[in-house]
């Protein structure tokens, strides 16, 4: 997609968590069109990834709501503004242009926007790296946290570590093309879909692959090329396994990621903003929700909603310079009601 011309829009919102979603609403009421980019494969941010089923008790007027319900309700609320979502994309670069900003994602999508709203919460969800000595040196060469090209594993001695759907799905998908396949998990119980577990056990029974119970304690190899693993099994058992490809699946964690390289002032991985406009050290770049900091900051979803509303006011003045902004209520303004599609 590198050759394509960039997508033009008014505002880019980085992060599709509750605060990013509500920013679509507040900007939309002021006629500002948004594209929303998120590294996850669906909207909701931490609400969807960390606690979709957990009740939240401090959303005004919703005595109890789960993370998933809150996400669904926000999606419904912002429908009139037709935001465009770009999932599974991480914004890697952000540069200033003559009349705004240019952004590029790891997937090669480019955007041009007049304002950027960073609503990235705790940062990008990234795969957890097992604390094994020297693992960084093998990453991208023989240790991978996702399968981008299956050919990378063709004819290889592959070890997959984990007990969830990612681990089991890739065990089943790569087993036919791998030279050998070994699944390692710390216990003989799996969180993955029962059907995948059944298929895996059948492959083990037929001798097509191995299942070993244990935890990897050491990597062996040189120059990025993995040669084998040491594994602590059950009890006092310790064993070695030869392999040249490793896929560890230990879930996701949040890291600030490329935001750190955009030239913004940072304080302990948070972005300082003023409390009038929620603007960063760079005019036209805003930060709202858990990622920002200011005196008295509370990391609450409701604080992020408030911040989105004030941010939108300033974004309006950047996008429509010189235009007067009339303060209106959705209860009484026929202009706003038209935008919401209710009249």
């Amino acid at each position: 997609m590198n050759g394509d011309s960039p997508i033009q829009t008014d505002a880019i919102i980085i992060g599709a968590g509750p605060v990013g979603l509500f920013a679509v609403f507040e900007l939309g009421l002021l006629d500002i069109k948004s594209h929303v980019i998120d590294i996850l494969d669906r909207p909701g941010g931490q609400c969807a990834e960390l606690y979709p089923e957990k009740p939240i008790y401090d959303i005004p007027a919703l005595p109890i709501v789960t993370g998933q319900e809150l996400t669904d309700r926000l999606l419904e609320q912002i429908k009139p503004f037709h935001p465009t979502f770009h999932f599974n994309e991480r914004v890697d670069s952000l540069t200033r242009t003559e009349d705004g900003f240019e952004l590029a994602t790891d997937g090669g999508i480019r955007f041009r926007a007049k304002v950027v709203v960073i609503a990235a919460g705790g940062g990008s969800f990234t795969p957890k790296r097992p604390p094994l000595e020297g693992i960084e040196g093998f990453e991208g060469k023989s240790v991978f946290y996702a399968v981008k090209r299956m050919d990378e594993f063709r004819g290889r001695d592959v070890v997959i570590v984990g007990g969830g759907d990612s681990a089991l799905d890739w065990t089943l998908n790569l087993q036919p093309i791998a030279k050998s396949m070994t699944l390692i998990h710390r216990r003989d119980e799996f969180r993955a879909a029962p059907d995948s577990v059944k298929k895996m056990r059948e492959l083990v029974a037929s001798g097509a692959m191995q299942l070993r119970i244990g935890q990897v304690t050491q990597l062996r190899g040189a120059d990025g090329q993995l040669e084998g693993l040491s594994v602590r099994g059950q009890g006092t058992e310790v064993f070695d396994l030869a392999c040249d490809r490793l896929l560890p699946f230990f879930g996701l964690t949040m890291k600030l990621g490329p935001i750190a390289d955009w030239g913004l002032n940072l304080e302990e991985n948070l972005i300082p903003v003023d409390t009038e406009k929620f603007q960063t050290s760079e005019p036209g770049i805003f930060a709202i929700g858990d990622i920002n900091t200011y005196p008295g900051k509370l990391k609450l979803i409701l604080s992020g909603f408030h911040e989105a509303a004030l941010m939108a006011q300033q974004a309006y003045h950047i996008i429509f310079p010189g235009k007067r902004l009339l303060f209106q209520y959705t209860t009484s303004s026929s202009n706003l009601q038209k935008k919401l599609g209710v009249i």
């Binding site: 931490q46 960390l50 606690y51 957990k54 705790g122 957890k128 790296r129 097992p130 604390p131 984990g162 007990g163 969830g164 998990h185 710390r186 216990r187 119980e189 969180r191 935890q215 230990f250 879930g251 964690t253 949040m254």
Partner: protein, 106 residues
């Protein structure tokens, strides 16, 4: 108030007053005990509040639930005494509890 002892991977101990009804994770955060990350804030969905319960205390603290056992799959260096401290709710019986904090929370 039940006294809770946290020992970090370098052997330093932190003895703090726990409150009945609070979790061992919340108590650590409240008293700035290092090494407990609690990324998800106590929802049992991140496995970054992993502790090793002292063997003498395993009976008092009981066994992890199925959900906690599943979450422990996301932690590293799991041992039989591994627990997620957000799932350890303090009662009077916890007075004197000792937990060890792993070097890495992932």
């Amino acid at each position: 108030m039940p006294k809770i002892t946290y020992i970090d991977h370098e052997g330093r101990d932190f003895i703090v007053d726990g409150e009945v009804g609070q979790t061992v994770m919340e108590t650590a955060i409240k008293h700035d005990v290092p090494g407990i990350v609690a990324e998800c804030g106590g929802a049992c969905s991140c496995a970054t509040c992993h502790v090793y319960v002292d063997p003498a205390w395993r009976e008092t603290t009981g066994e992890p639930s199925q959900m906690e056992e599943d979450m422990l799959d996301f932690a590293f260096d799991i041992r039989p005494e591994s627990r997620l401290s957000c799932q350890l709710r303090i009662s009077d019986a916890f007075n004197g509890l000792i937990v060890r904090i792993p070097e890495h929370q992932g």
